[in-house]
């Protein structure tokens, strides 16, 4: 059936098909887990009754997303564009560095982790050299951290510094 020829689908339909399929998998797993939770009775519902219903509805809705992706006609109004080249590099750097910051935060502590993160982001996103990146990065990170820790008395991960 040509309607199921995934290779001929535009990116939007293919992406939605994948998302719908993932949704089906996750919903199925969720529902299976929900059946492990005590259900009680209809008159005295337990913790598992509502999630079972949610899981079943989730399976149906994921199925709807898959069907919509298969049956939808390609539309030039709704094309999906993923970044390429420089833009892709920027997005990946941003996300990668942010994840790295989150990982090292409890180890290094707020001041150190935030400073390193800010320096790296400014270096990669701006035309500045290392010295300016270090100056701006440390200034921004220390100011924000000080604002929250000292002024607003919000405890942050300690780590090394």
């Amino acid at each position: 059936m040509s309607v199921l020829n995934v290779s001929k689908m535009d990116l939007r339909r293919r992406g939605r098909l994948v998302i719908g399929a993932l949704g089906l998998l996750v919903s199925a797993g969720y529902t299976w887990q929900a059946f492990e939770i005590p259900v009680g009775t209809l008159a005295k519902p337990g913790a598992g009754l509502y999630p079972r219903g949610v899981g079943i509805v989730a399976i149906v809705i994921s199925f709807i997303v898959v069907i919509e992706a298969i049956l939808a006609k390609a539309s030039t109004d709704e094309e999906v564009e993923f970044p390429r080249g420089v833009q892709l590099r920027l997005v990946l750097i941003f996300f990668g560095l942010s994840c790295l910051y989150v990982i090292v935060l409890p180890i290094l502590g707020q001041y150190l982790a935030a400073s390193l993160y800010s320096i790296a982001m400014i270096k990669f996103l701006s035309p500045h050299g290392w010295i300016r990146s270090i100056l701006y990065g440390v200034a921004a990170a220390v100011t924000i951290s000080w604002l929250f820790i000292t002024l607003l008395s919000i405890q942050l991960p300690r780590g090394i510094w």
Partner: protein, 506 residues
């Protein structure tokens, strides 16, 4: 306490130095997050929400109100100055607002928007004072069946209306509802879907999910934009005053927009956004200068901006009287109220009228603060818009992580930001609606609560949920809204196809 006594009491509380300062800071922060690209009012409110928990309820609420309204004004400011809408409710402001800036009337556009917002806020306040008591009295008749219909039905209607296809709104909605089941179940305390990780017993923090979905994903989209160097035109203070003709032309749209916006605020729809489009359409239909709308006409911004602000106050009615938020920002406001010990619902007005009227007065004071503050600070906002991305992005991430960590002093809330950043990015890329996810996360526990209560009361009879005329009526309206929304979208698609055929000379 009658409405006039109530509002005077609330205003009396609000006009103290501490609360005025809180209103100022909230409005300032809200406008800042609305103006800055890459954050938006939802993520901005989520960032600031944890900070408000350290203060008294009145201070916290007035700050959130300031952020909510300031965020909308800030989003409209970028529409006018840069042709970049800060959020959905600011899209309409680009149609005529940016054209006015190009004609050297950007300052006047901002003034008309600011004053229109204030007038709309005043009219909405009067309407709210009139409607709140009868609606609260009516809502006292509501039981679990009616509340279940309102929460589940309202969420379904919101998801359908805010999405394009059926899946666009329903898929994120069910993700939100599913996420809300993670953690300790309210009645029995049974830990669900935590997979041995006790950190998940508290469930997913709304603020962290909101920051990830809206903030992180928005930053990623911002980095994709090759044209990230657009700079705003200068606006001089002396250009802020509209001409006599502009004042005259703005008056009727302000009034019309105020009523349209308030009505939309009462409905379970993305009221701020829809009200602006409805008001624009109304102006194009009835305005004396309708032929000029779209070319830089005052009517094109006056009506929609008034509608926007009036919808914000109108949406306080369902949230305060029924405890039902129908937008992402209102979901955060509800979370702020609950943390501050304020339980919205029909009894709030009768049992805690001081709190009820304080919240409303807080919104109005924030409205006044925006008017007083924003016009003189236009130059500041223009300079803020020049903040380079390489400084803005790390600052936003640091504030986001700190704010989320401060919720429960747990690293898991920071991990949630990153995970939902990717989820939000992908959902937005493929056309899904994020608002349904966030509102689903907030309403999910309420839907479960009323569902369980209903089954308990009825002895397990599922027909209980449609047994009352009110509940049945709500479900019929929801059903019609869902069918009608799909039908309307079909009609628009057909008429768009017809116009393309005519244009192609077929």
């Amino acid at each position: 306490m009658d409405p006039i006594e109530g509002i005077l009491y609330g205003l009396g509380l609000a006009f103290t130095p501490e609360l005025l300062l809180a209103a100022f800071l909230g409005a300032l922060a809200g406008t800042l997050v609305g103006v800055l690209p890459g954050i938006g009012p939802v993520a901005g409110a989520a960032l600031i929400l944890p900070i408000t928990f350290n203060y008294s309820p009145a201070v916290g609420l007035i700050m959130i109100a300031g952020i909510y309204l300031g965020g909308q004004y800030g989003g409209s400011t970028t529409s006018v100055l840069l042709n970049i809408p800060g959020e959905g409710s600011a899209i309409v402001a680009t149609f005529d607002g940016y054209k006015m800036t190009q004609q050297g009337r950007g300052g006047a556009a901002l003034t008309i928007m600011a004053i229109g917002s204030f007038i709309a806020g005043t009219i909405a306040l009067i309407l709210l004072m009139t409607m709140a008591k009868p609606l609260a009295g009516f809502a006292l008749n509501f039981g679990p069946a009616e509340y279940f219909a309102l929460t589940a039905g309202g969420l379904l209607a919101l998801a359908r209306i805010s999405g394009g296809s059926l899946g666009d709104g329903l898929f994120p909605m069910i993700i939100g509802i599913g996420l809300a089941t993670v953690g300790a179940e309210a009645a029995t305390g049974f830990d669900r879907f935590i997979f041995g990780n006790l950190d998940l017993s508290l469930g997913f923090a709304l603020a962290s999910v909101a920051v990830g979905l809206y903030g992180i994903s928005e930053l990623m989209l911002m980095l994709e934009d090759k044209d990230g160097t657009r700079k705003p035109m200068h606006v001089r203070l002396r250009e802020l005053l509209p001409t006599r003709d502009e004042w005259g032309r703005a008056t009727a749209p302000w009034l019309r927009g105020s009523f349209v916006g308030f009505l939309f605020g009462l409905l379970p729809v993305p009221s701020a956004t829809l009200s602006t489009f409805a008001s624009y359409k109304l102006e194009k239909t009835v305005s004396k200068n309708r032929h000029k709308i779209g070319t830089g006409a005052v009517e094109g911004i006056a009506g929609p901006e008034a509608a926007n602000n009036s919808a914000a106050l109108g949406s306080l009615v369902p949230i305060l009287v029924l405890g039902l938020p129908f937008s992402a920002t209102l979901a955060l406001m509800l979370a702020a109220m609950v943390v501050q010990g304020i339980q919205p619902g029909p009894l709030l007005m009768t049992q805690h009228p001081d709190i009820f009227w304080s919240v409303i007065a807080a919104m109005y004071v924030a409205n006044i603060m925006l008017l007083v503050m924003n016009l003189p600070l236009v130059g500041v906002w223009v300079n803020v818009l020049r903040t380079p991305r390489y400084m803005l992005i790390p600052i936003v991430i640091l504030v986001a992580c700190v704010g989320s960590y401060s919720l429960n002093y747990n690293m898991i809330d920071i991990y949630v930001i990153m995970i939902f950043g990717i989820v939000g990015y992908m959902l937005r890329k493929f056309g899904f609606s994020l608002a349904s996810l966030l509102v689903g996360l907030v309403l999910g526990p309420l839907i479960e609560k009323y569902f369980s209560q209903g089954l308990f009361i009825s002895g397990g009879d599922p027909l209980y949920f449609v047994s009352s005329p009110i509940a049945a009526g709500i479900w019929i309206v929801v059903f019609l809204a869902m069918i009608g929304s799909g039908g309307w979208k079909l009609v628009r698609r057909i008429s768009r196809r017809d116009r393309q055929s005519v244009g192609a000379g077929v």
